[in-house]
């Protein structure tokens, strides 16, 4: 179990995150949603150990992350960034092999190579395994980054907007892959998401952030309400339900004067 | 638009003023005007008499003092204070720059008749910049024995010191002849390796050092190379196996020779040369014929003294009576009006 207890993060004097509490069990997909600048990415980075929260603790199976070695955290938590810079040539295989870094000392072992091969296969990337990562399309790149996380062989996956920059089909494919990964391997995933409908469709639970605080948390049905959308996003919307999944249809922005101003 | 117009007007006006100002000064100088050839082979018109001089090189300054024209100098090169003992009267004159460049404003303020500098440096734009102030640039090197006499004569003419110039030239000639006389019955030329201040950079044809070596009757092992100051491989020196090695020093490696009281710095340089890897196989090292010569007598106005030392090193028997130190003493006391002191070569002849 991954527990996030009362995490706060400040940049200079500005509060980015305040008293965030989240719990995540294996086999679960949790989406963090909220408008731009509410701290979704910062929260993921704090959990991944990329940034240090000012207050609060993160526990993996009861063990405090701040007392763990970086390399050992990397064996439990995988982080998939929005994009990967590529100034230098690297093959897809090598890009995925990077996921094995926490386990490698001098050279990758046969087991490392096989795990990479397996995860490439599972993502349907085996045909382009020796191609240059930089020459792939956006969707393929996202898949490679996912494959890297798979190869990293962790219990927890953190994904920062895995569907941004992707077209509709690739969005569905990627989300489907994440869904399968979590359900089949019994791991858990936290996704920072922009797209409310995709998160509603694929998540078990959602956390809605507003100005660095948890506004509400629960199953998609409980979160995706007209009132929540209005006060968090400032948008009038209608909610429709298809196959038991709530979908949002935004209609117009709330007029500032009439809006429920909670700030 | 109006602003630009004003600017153009002012510039035009200034330009006219400048041009007319120049013609005025030219007309005002009623004296005799002569045409001379400088070291770069260009003709320069100079109006006489010359009353005020700015000098950018120590070589030229030495010749001016030898011409007894020291009093005309109103501006000197900035480094002069490094060798203040040698220049007791000039060391406090305004410092206007060095061989590479000068402070134009300061020169304009000093308003000399001419600025003396090397033929190559500072660059040619100097003439253009100084022309509006009526300052002529005379480029004379004074660092090559072959052209020294001609340059001294030119400077003598400009400064109206023809008699003094003749004295110096006569002195040079006398001593050159003395050396040539000593070389008359020489048959076997020694092979000489000359090294400047940088390790493994020799003096090839076209350099002052090569010229001196030839005048002193030596065979420069670099005489068939094609550039003046090439880097060469240690192995090539080894294969040429020179009979003698002449190493020169710079002011920066051991201060100025004039204020030097003992030969330790020069000895140290010699020891290092002799200890170079594999050099124990070279004849000059084996026979202890490695000589260090100070920059002051290596090329420049005192190249004749350096040449004298070399001749004595190359042919100790033929030049038994010849005393370069005496020559140096005579030069400093007679032409430079300062007393002889300092260390210039190692090993010393005494």
């Amino acid at each position: 179990m991954l527990s996030i207890c009362k995490i706060s993060f400040r940049y200079k004097s500005k509060h980015i995150l305040k008293d965030i509490e989240i719990e995540l069990n294996k086999g679960e997909i949790l989406s963090i949603v909220g408008p731009n600048g509410t701290g979704k990415t910062t929260l993921l980075k704090c959990i991944a150990g990329i940034m240090k929260p000012g207050k609060g603790t993160i526990l993996i199976n009861g063990k405090n992350v701040s007392r763990m070695k970086r390399q050992n955290i990397a064996k439990s938590i995988a982080y998939v960034p929005q994009s990967s810079p590529s100034k230098f040539p690297i093959t897809v295989f090598d890009a995925v092999l990077m996921g094995r870094r926490p386990y490698i000392t001098w050279k990758p072992s046969q087991k490392d190579l096989e795990l990479v091969a397996r995860s490439l296969k599972s993502m349907d990337l085996h045909d382009i395994a020796l191609q240059d990562f930089d020459q792939l399309s956006g969707g393929q790149k996202q898949k490679v980054l996912l494959a890297r996380a798979v190869a990293q062989d962790t219990d927890y996956l953190l994904l920062d907007e895995p569907t941004s920059n992707l077209d509709l089909k690739h969005q569905m494919e990627t989300m489907g892959m994440i869904f399968n990964m979590v359900k089949k391997n019994g791991v858990a995933a936290i996704l920072a998401m922009h797209d409310l409908n995709l998160s509603s469709r694929f998540s078990d639970r959602m956390v809605m952030l507003k100005a660095g605080k948890v506004f509400c948390t629960g199953e998609p049905r409980q979160i995706m309400t007209v009132e929540n959308i209005k006060s968090v996003y400032g948008v009038e919307a209608e909610i429709i339900s298809i196959n038991d999944h709530p979908y949002i249809l935004p209609t117009r922005p709330v007029n500032e004067q009439q809006g429920l101003s909670s700030d | 638009m109006k602003k630009y117009f004003t600017i153009i007007c002012i510039t035009t006006l200034l330009f006219c003023l400048l041009v007319s100002g120049e013609t005025v000064t030219r007309e005002a100088m009623a004296g005799e005007s002569i045409s001379i050839k400088d070291a770069a082979g260009r003709s320069v018109e100079v109006s006489l008499p010359i009353k005020k001089l700015v000098v950018l090189t120590s070589d030229a300054l030495e010749i001016i003092r030898a011409l007894k024209a020291e009093d005309l100098v109103i501006g000197v090169y900035s480094d002069i204070s490094r060798n203040s003992q040698f220049w007791p009267k000039l060391k406090d004159k305004p410092k206007v720059g060095n061989w590479k460049g000068l402070n134009y404003e300061l020169v304009a303020e000093l308003n000399p008749d001419i600025v003396l500098c090397y033929s190559q440096r500072p660059g040619r734009d100097m003439e253009r910049k100084l022309e509006p102030f009526g300052v002529k640039v005379i480029r004379l090197d004074f660092f090559r024995l072959g052209t020294l006499e001609k340059e001294v004569a030119v400077l003598g003419r400009i400064l109206k010191k023809e008699k003094e110039a003749m004295d110096i030239i006569a002195w040079y000639r006398k001593n050159l002849e003395l050396i040539q006389k000593g070389l008359k019955n020489i048959s076997d030329q020694p092979d000489v390796y000359i090294e400047g201040d940088s390790k493994y950079h020799t003096a090839g044809p076209g350099s002052g050092g090569h010229e001196m070596c030839v005048l002193a009757g030596g065979h420069n092992i670099a005489s068939n190379l094609s550039i003046p100051y090439p880097e060469i491989t240690p192995e090539w020196i080894l294969m040429n196996n020179p009979n003698l090695i002449v190493k020169t020093t710079t002011k920066s490696t051991c201060g100025t020779s004039y204020s030097m009281t003992d030969a330790i710095p020069l000895k140290r340089i010699r020891d290092r040369v002799m200890a170079r890897p594999a050099w124990e196989n070279i004849r000059a090292v084996k026979e202890n014929k490695v000589f260090v010569m100070a920059n002051e007598i290596w090329t420049g106005p005192r190249a004749i003294i350096g040449t004298g030392y070399m001749a004595k090193w190359f042919y100790p028997d033929a030049f038994k009576e010849f005393d370069p130190k005496k020559l140096h003493k005579e030069y400093l006391e007679k032409f430079q009006s300062i007393k002889y002191q300092g260390v210039y070569v190692y090993p010393n002849e005494n």
Binding site: Q71, P85, K121 | L238, P277
Partner: protein, 340 residues
């Protein structure tokens, strides 16, 4: 699934054979270099003279040619290795040992030593001073990075500022220098391997070879830096530490190489790229390959420089650029990939 692994291993084997090929090439070039020189020794004589104490030939081989060859290999390999490290930690294909101003501060160190007559006190003062200033500037950049952040941008900007600062100081000192001093400064900047003896090799090899295994040990971390700081951190890399120590080691190597051989530009930039174009970005292979490319480049340049126009030596810095640039362009045109 097995076949992907096999394919990958095939690629790895190709990379390995490229490294072995480079090592063989270096050995070949070294043998040729060993047999070239002013003396009339042929190839066979030169090789036998290594083992037989045959007087002058033995002295030439052991005291002049071998030190020169070894230093060329050390300097070329070191600069290329340092260049690779700088490109990785700054995540910038244009980075080289010169980007962070290490060369210009080393140059300034040499210039001050020359102007103030350093070579009078000790023959090693010029090299020592160059080394001191090279390290001084890299520690300055590290402290700036510590105060602000260890990002490539901060470090590159600080480095460029340092570079301009020391270059202008050098220019100032050159401006004040006498003819002879300026000559010597210019010669120093040209670079030269003529002055190298076993003592210099001893010092340089300690500084160049000691950090090398540590850098190799971290090749995985350097690989991950290319994936971005965040990914690297999330994969367990201590990004700050690797960037800091990487810079310290690469500066040490650069300083050692430059202070003994002068500013041999370009190797540190071009050798990593040549290696990368052939075998890709895996630092486990890239480090040895680029070091070998650098060593071959500098050794070839020095050998050509001292034989083409013998006995005059064409300065090593100039020849290195002359043979490196066309080869680099050839690879650049041949490869389809867009680098930047």
């Amino acid at each position: 699934m097995k076949d992907i692994c096999e394919q990958y291993k095939g690629v790895t084997r190709k990379k390995l054979s490229f490294v072995i090929f480079l090592a063989a090439l270096l050995f070949g070039v070294a043998l040729i270099a060993l047999s070239q020189g002013a003396s009339s020794m042929g190839f066979k004589d030169s090789v036998t003279a290594i083992f037989q104490d045959s007087g002058i030939a033995h002295a030439i081989i052991w005291k002049l040619r071998l030190p020169r060859i070894i230093m060329a290999v050390l300097v070329g390999g070191g600069l290329a290795l340092a260049g690779t490290v700088f490109q990785a930690i700054l995540r910038n294909p244009l980075a080289s040992p010169y980007t962070l101003g290490i060369a210009s501060s080393a140059g300034f160190g040499a210039v001050t030593a020359i102007i103030f007559g350093g070579s009078f006190y000790s023959e090693y003062l010029i090299a020592g001073n160059a080394f001191f200033f090279a390290l001084l500037s890299s520690f300055f950049i590290l402290s700036i990075a510590k105060l602000k952040s260890y990002t490539p941008e901060t470090m590159i900007l600080a480095g460029i500022a340092i570079m301009f600062f020391f270059s202008s100081l050098s220019s100032l000192f050159q401006y004040m220098g006498t003819v002879e001093e300026v000559h010597e400064i210019v010669f120093w900047f040209f670079g030269s391997l003529s002055k190298v003896g076993w003592k210099e090799i001893g010092v340089a090899s300690v500084m160049i070879l000691l950090p090398t295994p540590i850098i190799l040990r971290w090749s995985w971390d350097f690989n991950l830096l290319a994936a971005g700081d965040e990914s690297a951190k999330a994969l367990g890399v201590n990004v700050t530490r690797i960037r800091m120590l990487g810079m310290v080691f690469a500066s040490l190597i650069t300083a050692a190489a430059i202070s003994f051989a002068g500013v041999i530009g370009f190797v540190g930039l071009v050798a990593p790229h040549i290696a990368r174009m052939v075998i890709g970005g895996d630092h486990w292979f890239l480090f040895p390959a680029s070091a070998l490319v650098g060593a071959v480049l500098v050794l070839t340049a020095d050998t050509l420089g001292r034989t083409l126009w013998a006995p005059q030596v064409i300065p090593i810095g100039i020849v290195t650029a002359f043979i490196g640039v066309p080869f680099f362009f050839y690879l650049l045109m041949k490869k389809t990939r867009q680098y930047w």
